[in-house]
């Protein structure tokens, strides 16, 4: 299993039946592949559909139905079209049960930075600030390190996305739960030692007595 698949599959376990879930562009969008249809989950995209479905069969794409990245999608039975005001009303108003976002940095306070690298890359925050501020649960799905540098840092050096503490970080090495007491190491990726995680992590980690491996059924 490659690292992206591992992250996506682990995040998918957090998604409970009947939830309304927003998945960010890129890695987070892969999570949908591992949520069984019978779980009755509705995926929201901030561009305005509740009940996002898989890419349509070749030749069946509708230019008026895409995800937030502009890729063609379908709509599941029971889907609803909404405008941007309603879309962000759902997000900011606490009606979104979970959002899964990519990250550039997460720090010991549980703060996320994911929208700007000053002087280098300024994509803009898009919906990320509203999502992190308003979603009932915020899960960050990202690689543990980028170019050999830990993305789990003492203090974010990049501009913050929000002051709200994210609820969980899932990387290719670990599941980390930010808390008032710091970053708690909850799970290890299969075959990865606590020591290896500590070494790959700039931030201090709170390590409980038991840190089980991530469990995967299949």
């Amino acid at each position: 299993m490659d690292t992206k698949e591992l992250i996506a599959r682990r995040v998918a376990q957090e998604i409970l039946p009947g939830m309304l879930v927003n998945l960010g562009i890129g890695l987070p969008s892969m999570v949908a592949n591992y949520v069984p249809a019978e779980r009755g989950v509705f995926f929201q995209a901030e561009n305005g559909v509740i009940g996002l479905g898989a890419r349509p069969p070749e030749g069946m794409e509708d230019p008026n139905l895409t995800d937030a990245g502009g890729g063609f999608v379908s709509a599941v039975p029971g889907a609803a079209s909404i405008d941007s005001a309603m879309s962000f009303g759902l997000i900011r108003g606490g009606h979104l049960d979970m959002t899964v976002l990519g990250g550039l940095e997460v720090d010991e306070s549980g703060h996320l930075a994911n929208w700007k690298v000053p002087g280098k890359m300024v994509p803009g925050m898009g919906g990320a600030m509203d999502l992190v501020t308003g979603a009932a649960r915020v899960v960050v799905a990202m690689q543990h390190s980028a170019r050999g540098k830990s993305k789990i840092v003492r203090k974010c050096s990049l501009p913050l996305t929000a002051l709200r503490r994210v609820d969980m970080v899932v990387t290719d090495l670990a599941v980390i739960v930010p808390s008032p007491a710091g970053l708690i190491l909850r799970e290890r990726a299969p075959g990865v030692s606590i020591e290896a995680i500590r070494e790959a992590t700039e931030a201090a980690l709170v390590v409980p007595d038991e840190v089980p491996e991530m469990g995967f059924d299949a």
Partner: protein, 217 residues
Amino acid sequence: MKGALTPRDAADMIADGASLMIAGFMGVGSPHRLIDALVARNARELTVIANDTARPGFGIGKLISAGAVRHVITSHIGLNPETQAGMIEGSITVELVPQGTLVERIRAGGMGLGGVLTPTGLGTEVEEGKRIIEVEGNHFLLETPLRADFSLLAAGQADYVGNLAYSLTAHNFNPVMALAADTVIAEAESIVPVGVIPPDAVKTPSVLVDHLLLRAC
């Protein structure tokens, strides 16, 4: 509604230097014929208020490529390297606004509100220069209304009096932008007789639409 316009007449109505709200999300639900007409007439110094600048060669990206845009108020430019390059070299100024704040600012401008209080952006760069208002022990940013000279919309269906209906993710900013400009110009995939769009399916009432583009040939 004042009747149907050619795209060219519409573009001529929009002077250089005008401020435009342009609907769409990565080009979906954007008024592509109006954008093409603005590029064709070599429009200059536009201010564009829009969710994003799409990508080069598509939607609002065409206006960026053509050098028609001086200032952008938007939530995301990450998929258009030309906007980013323009920002860095200084040919385009960009004001980044969280998407949920952007839509509320437009809505406030269109619905006669003096502003809204949102928690989004608190404690981030977005907070800079803004008033923080406390309500029942919680803090919020005061975000002020946005309006423009023109709103350019794209509908799935329009009827002869200007009622608009949208399809799926092509709704996005269209319904709010319809209220927030001095002049509203819409294009539609199809134009149907009055009564074909039933009252419950109208998403933008005709009274908000000043001009409709004549049907695409």
